[in-house]
């Protein structure tokens, strides 16, 4: 199944823009994040600590709704979902 990944600000620059990723049915948010990290060294470094943990500044959204980091392991994705990754907001 396909999931659309959108990234913003410094994460967009590191990941290189929006992605369409093919992930297995039943894939979780964590599995998707790992797949995004595998697309390039810059993406891996922007998203993960050396320990493999998601970096503290990464904010996650699933179909336009905030996802708690703790939920990433259990949140399963569906075909056509949109996942967004971004750093803390700075508008206004």
């Amino acid at each position: 199944m396909q999931v659309r990944v959108r990234a913003f600000a410094r994460l967009r620059e590191a990941i290189g823009g929006d992605l369409m990723l093919e992930v297995p049915p039943g894939a979780t948010m964590s599995m998707l994040l790992a797949a995004v990290g595998e697309t390039s060294e810059q993406a891996e470094e922007a998203l993960f600590e050396e320990s493999g943990e998601l970096r503290g500044y990464v904010i996650l959204m699933h179909n336009g709704k905030r996802v708690r980091r703790a939920e990433a392991m259990t949140l399963t994705l569906a075909d056509g979902d949109e996942v967004a990754l971004f750093p803390p907001v700075a508008g206004g």
């Binding site: 913003f8 971004f86 803390p88 907001v89």
Partner: protein, 144 residues
């Protein structure tokens, strides 16, 4: 109860402050408080690039407007947030709040501004003679 009006936009286009005030003002208002945010030219900055997660930003601005109506006795809100490449001195953000009296208009305007800074998915990159830099976000917002 007076009818409430509130327009929201996230756009590349500039706006005319007086035109927006003219659109918002009504005879039952005794106060219109306006906040105008512009690109500040400090530290050798020439240009600022603003990026938004547009659908979510619009929805979040609508939620903020609705909260302002729920929390303050105001009768109109208009919020325009620009994106794209803006030069020093150009308009970034306009908030206009109309109310019967000044206090609620000031309070609601400040509330809206602080909420925007905390939770609307918009980012700014400063570009100047010394290179470029993403403006650090003030908060994770929401439920991180």
């Amino acid at each position: 109860m007076t009818e409430e009006a509130g327009m929201i936009s996230v756009t590349q286009d500039d706006f005319d402050v007086n035109e927006v005030i003219g659109r918002v003002r009504r005879p039952d208002m005794g106060a219109l408080v306006t906040f105008l945010g512009v690109v500040r030219g400090d530290g050798g900055i020439d240009v600022m690039e603003l990026e938004a997660y547009e659908e979510v930003a619009v929805r979040e601005l609508e939620a903020i407007r609705d909260e302002a109506f729920a929390n303050y006795p105001i009768t109109a809100v208009e919020i325009i947030h620009r994106t794209g490449r803006l030069r020093v001195g150009e308009n970034i953000l306009l908030i206009v709040v109309g109310a019967g009296h000044r206090k609620e208009a000031f309070d609601a305007c400040e509330y809206i501004l602080e909420r925007i800074k905390r939770s609307v998915p918009i980012w700014k990159k400063e570009i100047g003679e010394d290179g470029e830099r993403w403006v650090p976000g003030e908060s994770h917002g929401g439920d991180a």
